[in-house]
């Protein structure tokens, strides 16, 4: 069945916003002044969680390390990629400004919470089960974090959407 015009429009807007947002965060001044400090914050929170469960880690910038293992949190591991998907899908979807703002804030919280769990888990795997690290780092957690962003968008869109947009009619 062919897609409705609104569905096609959603996809076009989604990709335009995604490209624009990517170019913005890839721009050096934004990367250096926003993304890198944000990633350092992610490292700090994850380091605190690890210390909370008794791991003797130090955090320096975007690096979490102990005598056993160390992780450097780069783009792709800071949850920003999932937040870009969330941003593009929520902004592309027809909804009120207020609904979008709420969706973006709550979605960012969900993504970053899961991302902190990812970093903690990856550190523990690297320290205690290193043979599993690559698989979980490359595929498992990356997909789960993106999947959580998409799931959040679907739940949010079902709440705010006119019914005709939630389905292909």
């Amino acid at each position: 069945m062919p897609m409705q015009r609104t569905q096609v429009l959603f996809l076009v807007k989604f990709f335009v916003i995604l490209i624009a947002a990517y170019l913005l965060i890839a721009w050096n001044p934004v990367n250096d002044n926003v993304i890198v400090p944000f990633t350092a914050g992610v490292a700090k929170v994850s380091g605190a969680l690890l210390q909370g469960i008794g791991q003797p880690v130090d955090v320096s910038g975007t690096v979490i390390r102990s005598a056993r293992f160390g992780v450097n949190i780069n783009n792709g591991c800071n949850g920003v990629e999932a937040m870009l998907i969330l941003l593009a899908s929520i902004v592309a979807f027809p909804a009120s400004l207020k609904a979008r703002a709420i969706g973006l804030v709550l979605g960012a919280v969900v993504v970053q919470f899961l991302n902190a769990v990812r970093i903690v888990t990856l550190y523990l795997l690297g320290a205690y089960q290193p043979r599993l690290f690559d698989m979980f780092h490359t595929a498992v957690w990356q997909i789960l974090v993106i999947l959580s962003a998409i799931a959040f968008f679907l739940i949010w869109s079902a709440r705010v959407a006119p019914a005709r947009l939630a389905t292909r009619g």
Binding site: E81, S89, T138, A139
Partner: protein, 187 residues
């Protein structure tokens, strides 16, 4: 207020596990197919055609050219890093209300075929990003700074976010209209 439908979440997670297992098991074979298709695509635009993509250990593909100095080291690409978005696609289709309906399976197969084409293009972009920037003086002589920016950004964009966006968009296009999670509506 719509809530998380736990049955759909469980189906999505089961789909995620199946996708992960299939991807892990079939990657060595699948990567050969993708490498061969990417090599053919690259050679279409080369005069003379020189690129050779050779499958190597641990799901890597070695990038070779017949005009390279035989003594120089060959760069390699971890091809499984470019293809694991198939797990996301599997999880999304598995979350359908009727995951084994003909329409959902047909949609999944169509989306997977389209995804395979993007894997070929992703590999081409990755090889080009090596040619333009990672081969020292050879890159500087043969490619402009515009080429370096273009292919470098394309490669980074694909790896960081586009590969997931493609899987999401293909699901959005090919999903069964009577089966997607978003269909649950207020009444």
């Amino acid at each position: 207020m719509p809530r998380l439908d736990w049955r759909l979440a469980v189906k999505a997670f089961a789909g995620f596990l199946v996708g992960l297992a299939v991807w892990a098991l079939l990657s060595p074979l699948y990567n050969r197919v993708i490498a061969a298709a990417a090599e053919k695509t690259l050679r279409l635009f080369e005069r003379p055609p020189v690129t050779q993509l050779r499958p190597a250990a641990d799901n890597y593909v070695t990038v070779d050219r017949s005009d390279f100095d035989p003594r120089s080291k060959r760069p390699a690409i971890p091809l499984h890093d470019l293809t694991f978005n198939v797990i996301l696609l599997t999880a999304l289709f598995a979350a359908a209300r009727r995951p084994f309906s003909d329409r959902n399976i047909g949609g999944f197969l169509a989306a997977a075929a389209a995804l395979a084409l993007t894997h070929v293009l992703g590999t081409v972009v990755e090889v080009m990003s090596i040619y333009v920037a990672k081969l020292g003086m050879w890159s500087t002589i043969h490619y402009s700074s515009f080429d370096r920016n273009l292919w470098g950004v394309a490669s980074h964009f694909y790896r960081l976010v586009l590969m997931y966006a493609i899987a999401f968009a293909l699901w959005w296009v090919f999903r069964d209209s009577g089966a997607e999670p978003a269909r649950k509506r207020r009444r």
